[in-house]
């Protein structure tokens, strides 16, 4: 077994030495501490003694050659089985007390740390907020007044940043529709909304198919469920029922769950999971959290999940995961009032279901005009992927389930 003797640093910070003269040759038998070689450094000329006894196997360099510290000086067969002797080394140093410094992205909105935390907790992207502080700095009030936060996770540009299709830019009643006369640069929140709208509208050829269904049974169904003495019953809303219906329909018609990639279009993607984005209005604006794998949830589970997401949305505790991965969106524009609308499909999806306001309206029943609660419903669809007949069939499937909610129990 060879003992490898590497050139040590014998002079406090030397990095090389020149071989002046070898005192031994290959094959020589040497004893411990026997002088092996004379080396010359910047500081001194020194003899290096052998660390072990044995037979010289090889010399690391010829006379006149400069060796660097750590390079092999000589190999000696010392007959042992242990690996080369290590000089006493300091233990590997763990990193010392260092505070990490994150890299800075190219564009940084200016805001105080406390404001940043507020924005983080509110789910507001500072890049979308108009700063009214000095030098365009974003103040805490700016964050609180901020309109639409992101529907999709900010770091994924390909996922699209689609704030709510219809309700983009919801503002507090006092500021609704208010803007001083003159020309304003289109930036901040409005700028982001503008860009997203243009992308969706130019890249996705929309068709909309609308209908109004008799919601009597739906209302009755819901009333009876809510009167059940069962935990979670109170959370069952028409929205939750519609979500279950939509999920069933998406399983029936997987293409409606899909989307087109590229513009005008390179590929059609049909995902494995059904993830429903549920548009919600909160104090801080509109958010669209996602119910993942919605098709395996029964009505109560769906209602519970939607309620949890709504609660989190209200307190600003939605995570990036909560906002990611939607394959289809439901927007309850009826909550603002309104009967018919043409919701815009979020880029990265293929269709969107809009629910209008439930209200008493005239309905023809057996030749008579009666006042019944009705629910307007609209399906927006990407015509590259979904033709009129599919859109029609899908919407009808949802409408059938909402018209007679018992269908949700019997399947089919």
């Amino acid at each position: 077994m060879a003992h490898v003797f590497r050139l040590p640093d014998i002079g406090e910070g030397l990095d090389e030495a020149e071989i002046v003269e070898w005192f031994v040759a290959v094959g020589d038998v040497v004893v411990r501490d026997q002088a092996l070689v004379e080396v010359l450094t910047d500081k001194a000329s020194s003899e290096l003694p052998s660390p072990v006894a044995g037979t010289v196997m090889s010399l690391g360099a010829a006379e006149g050659v400069r060796l660097r510290v750590g390079e092999v000086l000589i190999e000696i067969d010392d007959g042992s089985t242990t690996p080369e002797a290590r000089p006493a080394e300091a233990p590997a140093s763990a990193s010392g007390p260092v505070t990490a410094s994150p890299g800075t992205p190219a564009f940084r909105p200016k805001a105080a740390p406390a404001t940043r935390r507020l924005a983080l907790q509110s789910g507001v992207d500072l890049a979308t907020v108009n700063g009214t502080g000095p030098g365009g700095r974003i103040t805490a009030d700016d964050v609180r007044n901020a309109g639409t936060p992101l529907a999709a996770p900010p770091p994924e540009p390909s996922a699209g940043r689609m704030p709510t299709p219809v309700d983009a830019g919801s503002s507090t009643p006092s500021t609704l529709g208010q803007m001083p006369t003159g020309r304003h640069a289109l930036r901040g929140l409005r700028g982001v909304v503008a860009r997203n709208m243009v992308q969706a509208w130019t890249e996705i050829p929309h068709i909309h198919t609308m209908d109004e269904l008799d919601a009597s049974l739906l209302v009755d169904f819901r009333t009876r469920i809510r009167s059940m003495d069962r935990p979670g019953a109170a959370q069952v809303t028409p929205l939750a029922i519609a979500a279950v219906a939509a999920a069933r329909a998406l399983r029936r018609f997987p293409m409606v769950n899909g989307h087109v990639e590229g513009h005008p279009g390179d590929a059609i993607v049909i995902p494995e999971s059904v993830n429903l984005g549920i548009a919600m209005a909160t104090e801080r604006g509109l958010v669209v959290p996602v119910v993942h794998d919605a098709d395996v949830l029964d009505l109560f589970a769906m209602a519970d999940r939607i309620a949890s997401l709504a609660a989190a949305a209200r307190t600003g505790d939605l995570t990036t995961a909560d906002l990611a991965g939607a394959t289809f969106t439901i927007t309850n524009y009826g909550s603002l009032g309104g009967r018919f609308a043409t919701p815009i499909i979020p880029p990265g999806q293929g269709a969107i279901l809009g629910l209008g306001a439930v209200a008493e309206r005239p309905v023809a029943v057996d030749g008579e005009v009666l006042a019944r609660p009705t629910l307007p419903v609209v399906l927006g669809a990407d015509h590259r992927l979904i033709d009129g007949d599919l859109a029609e069939a899908f919407r009808r499937a949802v409408v059938d389930d909402l018209t007679e909610p018992l269908h949700l129990l019997v399947g089919g």
């Binding site: 505070t99 105080a112 740390p113 406390a114 935390r117 502080g133 000095p134």
Partner: protein, 321 residues
Amino acid sequence: MLQAINEALHGEMARDERVVVLGEDVGHVGGVFRATEGLFEKFGAARVVDTPLAEGVIVGSAVGLAMAGLVPVAEIQFLGFSYQAMHQIAGQVARLRYRSQGRFEPAITIRAPFGGGVRTPEMHSDSLEGQLANIPGLKVVTPATAADAKGLLAAAVRDPDPVMFLEPLRGYRGIRGDVPDGDHVVPLGAARTARQGDDLVIIAWSYQVELACRVADSLAEEGLSVAVLDLRSLVPLDIEAIAAAVDRCGRVVVVEEASQTGGFAGEVVATIVEECFWSLEAPVVRVSGFDVPYPVGMLEDTFVPDEARIAAAVRRTLETA
């Protein structure tokens, strides 16, 4: 404050016969500021020693006394003259425990006055606390009240580690207050809330605490709620107290007499950034001396942060959106 210091020394010498006081003029005269008055008469020449004029050996022999198991309390007449002993302070006092791997207990206290505003000659007012704080193994303590002077000095003498006990020159006669009788110990490493407040906290030590409190009081009349945190110990630093104060207020002004670059206020700001970044509503502002040697008498008032400068910094920080 001077009497409080004197009381503490009397108390500690009576309590522990291992305590030995040494320095220039500390014995017969009782110290050039009378801080050690009465000790010589009461405890004798063996325990209260007038040394030759040599800061190096005052500190170096204190190391030897500690090695012998005694508790030396050395005085350096003015902190600026500790430069003459710095090799013993930084290389020996601070490292005695480390170099002996715990064999020797360096229960050494070095007292020295510092700080300006009293028209001293050159080198008599220099603030070196930042430099001392950077010496590992050395504790640095700066009382701001008379009661704390007594309590912290008692704690320092009893501490098994070496302590630089820095007394505010201007405070000797300028700081007055109630001092508890008898045994009074204030633990090292615990800051003190000198004024409660919610809008902004002034972090200061030594004489600057007194000024900060005056500023806080006058701003209170305008309805501004300004807190004052007296660090008391720079090493060990009460990180939690700083974090709590900043979390509560969100705005901070740090005040020091020393020159700004490399001063201890920088350490405080770094600690705030590490601990309470998300609470900050405005940048942290330092009010410090200028980056020049401590100046002559006519320029002194410009150099040393006064109430006006502190108040201006406070207002600016409060007004930052």
